[in-house]
Symmetry: C2
Subunit: 457 residues, 2 copies
C-alpha cells in the first residue's frame, strides 16, 4: 500500500486550548476605539452584546486559553478534522512539491464556522441569555450558529440579507431545520430596518445592515446576545484549533510546511490555520511563508488602507485598526460571499504590518479553474472561498516544478461547495466574468475613513 | 473526557476484501433468467454491458473477493468511514439503548454510492472501454459515477430523468463539474428515447426508461460499458465494505449490535451494511436482528410478490427473482428518490425468504420528523433515504426504553441531505403528505408479472 492519504487524530488528541497569538507578538496590536470618545474601548462597553468570558478573550494576552469541556465535547462530533496529502493533485501538476490540506468541510454545516459558533453559543448559554441574534449573507455563518444554538437549547434569530433570503432558500431551509428563525433584512423588527424600508421599500439588504439589525436587537433585549462569525479577536482565537491540529498532523506525516496558505475574508479562517504556525516561528521555531489569498474584487489586505474603521456598515460597533476598503465600499458581485468584507481581522492586519504574512489576490475564473481541477483529482467539490486557497497552493506547486524544489505546502480547505452549485454552473456556462472594483469608488470610500475620531487614541 | 463519539479506523485497516454472502447461505439464490429462452443467463450474455471481472463477481460463490489495489487507493480518499456513537440522540430519547451509526456521507459525493462506482469504473477501464453510460434519477448515482470516471479518465454519459434534469440543476452541475455529460431522458440519442418522444414529445422520463437508454448505448457501442447503482450481486458485493468496516469499529467500541438497521431501495446500501453481520451469524457467530426500512409508498419487501421480474422498465435486462411491485408499478411522488424502485436486490429478497431479515415501512412525515431530531442532536442533516434508517433506530430505542433494555443498535447513515433541502422545506411547510400507493394499481402491476417466461427455469 502506498503512503497515507489521510492523517487522522484520535479524539483524545483534540487540542485542550486555543492559541492566542497576542502573547507571542513583538508589538501589541492597536486597541479598539470607542468612536464617541476616541479612547480605547473598555470591557464594560461590550457587555450588552457579549458574555464576559468572550470579552475576556477579546482582550486577553495569555498564550493558551483552555477550551471548555462542553465545547470540546461538541467539537468531537467532527473534530479533529482530517489532514489529507493531495497525492492525486500533485501527480496532475507533475510537481516535486508535497501538497497537504486540512479539510474543514467535515463539520455538520460544511465549513470551519462551527469552531466559533459552538464556543460562542456555549459562553452565551453560560451567561444566561435565552436567544442569540446574528446576521448572515450566504448563510454559512447563520447555519453554523443555528446548529450551535440547537445543541445548547438557545433560540437563534438570523437576519439574512433579503437578496440571499430569496435566492438561497436551501441555506435558509438548513438554518430552519436546526430550529432557527430566519428574517429577511432589512426587516420591520428593528428601528434601523424600519428606517431603511421607509426610505426604500424594496431594499435588497447588505451584510452591514443585517449586522446592525442583529446588534440592535441584542442591545435592546436583556435575554438576547450577539454572535459574530469573523473579524474579532475571540473569533480568530476559536479558529486556531485548525492550526493546532494541523501541527500535530504534519508531525504524523513527518513533514513541516514551508508554506501555509488560506483564503481570507474577515480573516478568522486564515488566522485559524496560520497563527499557530506563525506563533511557533515567533517562539524560535522554523520559518514558514504564510500566504493570505483574497478575491481580486475585494482585496482589503492587498489594496486596503491600514487605518481605523468601522467593522459594520451601520457604525454601531467600535472602531478597529485594520486593512480596510472603507465601510461603505461595495464590491462587485462575485461568487464567494464569504469573502465579501470591506475590512480584515485586526490581528491579521497587524501581523501583515509586522511582515509575518504575504497577501495575494485572484480573479474568480482562475479560482474556479483550480476548484474544478481539485474536484477531478481529489474528489471533494470545494466552496468558492476555499478555491482561493487551492489556487494559491497550485501556483506555488507549479513554481516548485519550475524551480525543481520539493517544498511542503499546506493549505486550509475551509469548506465544501454543496450549497454553491450555481457558481459552478455559471463557471461551466462561461458566465463568470472577472470583476474589478471601481478605482474611483475605492478612493472615495477610503477618503471617508473616520480618521478624526481616533485623534485621542 | 467522556467516552468516544467517533470510532476511526486508520487507512491501513481498510478491508482487503469484499464479502460475498452467497458463500455462507444455506440455500443458493435463484439464477438470473434470460427472458427469451427461459433459461439461466450465461456470463457471455452479459458481456456487451459489463467487464468480465464484474460478471465473474455476479456469479461468484467465493466468500472473500479481493479489492484491487487501485480501488483501495481511491477508497482511502475517504474510507474507512467513521462509526459514531449517537450519544446526544440517546440522551434526547432518554433510552438505555446504545445507538451507533456508520456515516457514509463523508464520501466526495455524499453517499455510499462511490463504493461501487469506483470499483465498476476500475474494472471497465481495465477492460479497455473509453466511456460509461448510466441512468440517474435524483442524481446521487450519476454524481458518483461521474466522480469515479474522472479519476480513471473515462468519459461518462448520464441519462437523467427529464423531470429531475430540469428540477435538480445543482445535482447536474455536480456531475458536470466532474466532467460527465448529462442528457435529459428520454433523449433523441437512442432508439428507445426517440420512440418515446415520438409518442409523447413532452415525456417527463422515468428511471426504467433512462436505464433502457443507457443499456442501448452500451450495447451498441464497443467503446462503452454500462454501470448500475444497485440491485445486482456485484453492486451489493462492493457495498459490503461498509459492514466489514463496521464490524472492526464495533469491536473498537467494545460492543456488538443486537440490531442492525438500514434503509432499502434497490437494496445495495442495506446489504452493504447487513450482509457481513448476517454472514458472521451464519458462520456460527452472534445472532443479530436485521431490519430493512423502506418507504410506505414503495414497499417492495413488505408488500411485493417474490417472483421473477424485470429489473428495468424497458425489459432489456434479464429476469431476476425478487420482491417486486411489478416493473410497471409507479409509486406516488415522495421525497426519497433513492428508494423509488419497484423491486429489490435478488440477494436481499433471498435472505428475506430465508427468514434472516425483517422488513418495515414508514410514511414520509414520520421519517422527516426523525431526520430533524437527528440533525438537532447529532448535527448531521441526513438524506431523506437515510431518515428511514434513523426512524427505525429511534423506534427500536424507544422500545428499549419501554422495556428497560439496553440493546445495542447500529444503523447505516447512507448520506447527507445537502442536495435535498427542498424536501426539508416541504416538511417544514407542512406540505409533506403521507402517500399511499393505489391498491388497484398494485394488483394490476403484480398480475402482469412475466411468470410464463420462466417456465423452463
Amino acid at each position: 500500500m502506498q503512503e497515507s492519504i489521510k492523517y487522522l487524530l484520535d479524539e483524545t488528541r483534540l487540542p485542550q486550548a486555543w492559541y492566542n497569538i497576542v502573547a507571542d507578538l513583538p508589538v501589541p496590536p492597536p486597541p479598539m476605539i470607542d468612536p464617541d470618545t476616541g479612547r480605547p474601548v473598555t470591557a464594560d462597553a461590550l457587555l450588552p452584546l457579549f458574555p464576559e468570558a468572550v470579552i475576556e478573550q477579546e482582550f486577553s494576552v495569555e498564550r493558551d486559553i483552555e477550551i471548555p469541556r462542553p465545547v470540546r465535547d461538541i467539537y468531537r462530533q467532527w473534530r479533529p478534522s482530517p489532514l489529507h496529502r493531495a497525492r492525486r493533485l500533485e501527480k496532475a501538476l507533475d510537481t516535486p512539491a508535497k501538497i497537504y490540506f486540512k479539510y474543514e468541510g467535515v463539520s455538520p454545516t460544511g465549513s470551519h464556522k462551527p469552531n466559533t459558533s459552538v464556543a460562542q453559543a456555549f459562553y452565551h448559554k453560560e451567561s444566561g441569555v435565552k436567544r442569540l441574534a446574528t446576521e448572515t449573507g450566504a448563510g454559512q455563518w447563520g447555519a453554523s450558529l443555528a446548529f450551535a444554538g440547537s445543541l445548547f437549547g438557545l433560540d437563534v434569530d438570523i437576519y439574512m440579507i433579503r437578496a440571499s433570503f430569496e435566492q438561497k432558500p436551501y441555506r435558509r431551509a438548513m438554518m430552519e431545520s436546526y430550529g432557527a428563525r430566519c428574517v429577511a433584512s432589512p426587516s420591520s423588527e428593528t428601528v434601523v430596518g424600519r428606517g431603511m424600508l421607509a426610505r426604500k421599500a424594496d431594499h435588497r439588504g447588505s451584510l452591514g445592515l443585517a449586522m446592525s439589525e442583529a446588534v440592535e436587537v441584542a442591545r435592546r433585549r436583556d435575554d438576547t446576545g450577539y454572535a459574530l462569525g469573523s473579524v474579532l479577536n475571540h473569533v480568530v482565537l476559536h479558529q486556531t484549533i485548525i492550526g493546532a491540529e494541523a501541527i500535530a498532523q504534519m508531525e504524523m506525516a513527518g513533514d513541516y510546511p514551508d508554506i501555509v496558505i488560506a483564503c481570507t475574508g474577515g480573516g478568522a479562517n486564515f488566522a485559524g490555520m496560520a497563527f499557530p504556525f506563525i506563533g511557533a516561528q515567533l517562539r524560535g521555531g522554523t520559518k514558514t511563508r504564510v500566504i493570505a489569498v483574497e478575491p481580486a474584487a475585494c482585496p482589503s489586505l492587498s489594496r486596503g488602507k491600514y487605518a481605523y474603521d468601522f467593522g459594520d456598515a451601520g457604525h454601531l460597533m467600535p472602531l478597529v485598526k485594520m486593512h480596510t476598503l472603507g465601510s461603505n465600499f461595495v464590491p462587485p458581485g462575485f461568487h464567494s460571499a464569504g469573502l465579501r468584507y470591506h475590512g480584515m481581522a485586526p490581528l491579521v492586519s497587524h501581523v501583515m504590518e509586522l511582515g509575518l504574512i504575504e497577501a495575494r489576490s485572484y480573479q474568480q475564473s482562475k479560482i474556479f479553474e483550480a476548484g474544478i481541477l481539485f474536484a477531478r483529482t481529489e474528489g471533494i467539490l470545494p466552496a468558492p472561498e476555499a478555491n482561493h486557497a487551492i489556487r494559491g497552493a497550485i501556483d506555488e506547486a507549479l513554481r516548485c516544478r519550475t524551480e525543481g524544489k520539493s517544498e511542503v505546502i499546506l493549505f486550509n480547505l475551509c469548506g465544501h461547495g454543496h450549497f454553491d452549485m450555481q457558481a459552478y454552473m455559471d463557471h461551466a456556462d462561461g458566465k463568470l466574468k472577472d470583476l474589478d472594483y471601481d478605482e474611483g469608488e475605492l478612493a472615495k470610500s477610503l477618503a471617508a475613513l473616520p480618521a478624526e475620531r481616533v485623534a485621542a487614541a
